[in-house]
Symmetry: C2
Subunit: 473 residues, 2 copies
């Protein structure tokens, strides 16, 4: 079948309006969020439901047309961008946007892949439940994409990654069969865990069309504080104390260096530096209390007093109200924005065992300085998960684009080597896509790469599902 | 190679003492815990470490000798028992019993597969941490077996199944390669989730030799109560209230019918019926508090008062001390013992969505009565997970063995059909092994069975790893 006839068959299935081929219609689907990759596509197709997805996949499979599933197109690793051949079809899941079922008593809901994360959160809130996955793109990313990339975010410390928030899936296989695995069960030991194989596979083993998601009791109050400390090692001591004193009420633990805070207040002068004097590190703590705001405040103050008595914390600010709490979070969330406003920089999304964070920083900062003298380290992230966005900015006065061109490859290679030496990962929460596919393969054992290839071959022997992502060709 | 020469090669690898062939030495390995299955074996081999496991597997693979991995041999589905051919080798993991590493700051430890669950719990307690997996066999089951069967138990409501407690694995593939996936990371998105594929696969895809396990902060206090209620629907209302008021502090929620309590107090007269009058249902609640015993008691009393005000709870007993708390748990844990003492019975390990429990019981009790008039329903289990041990006893005066022979097949088939109709599972926490392998296959879609078979073929094309378990031949 030639391309023209293939497109006619697509239009027969989905209707004319949902098979996009004009550049003005398709361009938004062909470049990734960070504008690292721009591809071409035979078409962008927009099925309305799982049956249409299955029909389109069967058509593509029959005609050996490679497929690229796409949700909100907010991924940070180029996992949803087609290659430059113009022979691939982008399957947008955005029209599958129904909440199919809410079962408050079972603490679950079933959402279609194209639901915006914010809409899933809202559907849970409507029945006084919490869907805790939360990340910067929540207003534009889709739950299908969150699951395909096993998204992380700020609440992983307490609630886990997207993987841990999913009880069941509906998936279209690369051959176009529909697997109904939409179980809402906390316990089910009847065979191989297909669900977790599709979660995090970035659409290379099958295409997620819906998911059964876990809900939680809504907290009665959230309480935030910012603590000033001497070092990452002291931040670990604070984490230990917080876990002992607050246990599961601790829902956020974000580290940021003083340089990060200074950068935010420079770039956004309306945000004030929070402490009266400089301290090397700061930690944002969040408690989610089941009882009351008063109980949360009391616990947080006791925790910070104990940390102060132990010499761990040098200064601390406890938010007095929601506005102050939002302001503290806003400082943290402004770090990547302040970086962007300062020009291109070398970004990393790494994790090491939590206990290894200080040793990793002690070992790696000097390595980066040897390669790129004067580079400014923008170190912040989810310390409770060992996940740092260990970013590297040009020295003052150096053109960011030139710095990036000159140092990105060598700095990232050295950082990744150091991560590997500290038993860490070079992609903690963003996935591999096409961006980190080859780098990741360097650090995996031959056994692991072979097992992954066997899985790919078993599920997608024709190599049609999101080719060129996750696994090197 | 004939069998005699194969055994010589095994002894060359492991030493004479660790290749058992005499019936007196092997018999303990050849019958399952519930004495449903007795197999034969060419040998029981007892490697000392992962390298020896890999070497033995390579030997078996080279000579096409089927392998049956075994931990504490406490499984309830015959998953670790060889067949009757006498051609299979049982690989006992019991000698791999080291705790390799404890990283308190990372909240992880690495345990070898043969560690007793109780020893893993103790190693965590030694560094003031909690390893929350807890089940009746914890003094004799191994962590490798717990992971291979994705064991559940009483704390799943709060901490999840064995799957959720595992961050990384070391596995010997069916070809005898050693995969080091012992990561201690909370976030790692670099490819397919091999870990969760081996967890719950019951040794049919590879052989777990070690695991990185998640630890938690130890609670400051545990507080237990027993509440009397009218119905399973009221128990669900209590669960909802408890989740709203206690959130993550709620660590146990066990339902038991009045018949269960009466059976325990009949069989074990030293245990007293806890309430002053009969109530149709009872719920055991456990809170694990991070602050203090006083805080836990206050919260539990407020919860029970609110439930009483709402007409949910008719009576309640709050344990005043650890002895009373243990006595309440002992009532719950004595139910299966009281059943065993009363003779054989028809056992089920089912789960439905939590919200479906009342409807499932309303629908299924009459079906069982139609098949086996007068049968006594022994309904208890982990209501917080929707997991019931929905057991069926002979009517008074009827010989239990005869009852079992006459009704087991028809009752279980009807119960499982009803579970399936309520979107549940016929094996919630025990796995499939050989016992439920065929029954499970009846309820799975053709797509799911085909995907499972493709996984098996991809990892174990020669069919040598625990053949005849999980998947029908």
């Amino acid at each position: 079948m030639n391309h023209a006839r293939f497109l006619i068959a697509c239009r027969d299935l989905l209707g004319h309006d949902h098979v996009l081929t004009d550049a003005t219609d398709t361009s938004a689907y062909l470049t990734d969020q960070r504008k690292r990759y721009t591809g071409r596509a035979l078409a962008v197709v927009r099925p309305a439901n799982a049956e249409q997805v299955a029909a389109i996949v069967r058509l593509c499979h029959a005609h050996r047309v490679p497929m690229v599933p796409q949700g909100g197109n907010t991924g940070l690793a180029g996992g949803a961008t087609p290659d430059g051949s113009g022979h691939q079809v982008v399957i947008s899941l955005r029209r599958l946007d129904r909440i199919r079922e809410v079962d408050a008593a079972n603490m679950t809901l079933i959402a279609e892949a194209g639901c915006l994360l914010a809409n899933v959160q809202a559907a849970a809130a409507d029945v006084q439940r919490l869907f805790p996955l939360s990340l910067a793109a929540e207003g534009s990313c889709t739950i299908g994409g969150n699951l395909a990339t096993n998204a992380g975010g700020t609440a992983v410390l307490r609630y886990g990654n997207a993987r841990e928030l999913c009880l069941g899936l509906e998936v279209v296989t690369p051959q176009g069969e529909l697997w109904d695995g939409l179980r809402g069960l906390r316990k089910d030991n009847t065979g191989y865990d297909l669900r977790d194989l599709f979660v995090g596979a970035e659409g290379t083993l099958g295409l997620i069309t819906a998911a059964t998601l876990k809900l939680f009791a809504q907290p009665a109050a959230r309480m935030t504080a910012l603590a000033a400390l001497d070092s990452p090692a002291q931040a670990l001591a604070l984490l230990d104390l917080a876990q002992r004193m607050a246990g599961p009420l601790l829902t956020g633990f974000e580290l940021m260096s003083d340089f990060c805070l200074r950068l935010v207040t420079q770039v956004f002068p309306q945000q004030r530096y929070p402490f009266t004097q400089s301290h090397p590190q700061a930690v944002l703590l969040e408690l989610s209390d089941i009882e009351s705001e008063a109980h949360a405040r009391d616990l947080l103050e006791r925790l910070l007093n104990a940390a102060s008595d132990d010499g761990i914390v040098r200064d601390a600010i406890v938010a007095n109200n929601l506005a102050q709490s939002n302001a503290l979070w806003h400082l943290r969330e402004s770090i990547p924005l302040a970086q962007s406003a300062s020009g291109l920089n070398i970004k990393h999304d790494i994790a090491v065992p939590v206990s290894q964070v200080p040793a990793f920083l002690d070992a790696t900062d000097p390595i980066v300085q040897r390669i790129a003298p004067g580079a400014r380290m923008v170190t912040f992230g989810h310390l409770g998960d060992g996940n740092l966005h260990y970013n590297v900015m040009a020295p003052p006065g150096v053109d960011p684009a030139r710095f990036l061109a000159q140092y990105q490859a060598s700095v990232s290679a050295a950082v990744h080597d150091s991560v590997h030496a500290h038993r860490g990962t070079i992609s903690a929460e963003h996935g591999l896509g096409q961006y980190k596919r080859d780098a990741s393969a360097q650090y995996k054992s031959a056994v692991e790469m072979a097992l992954m290839r066997r899985l790919k071959a078993a599920f997608d022997p024709d190599g049609l599902m999101n080719p060129g992502k996750v696994l090197p060709d």
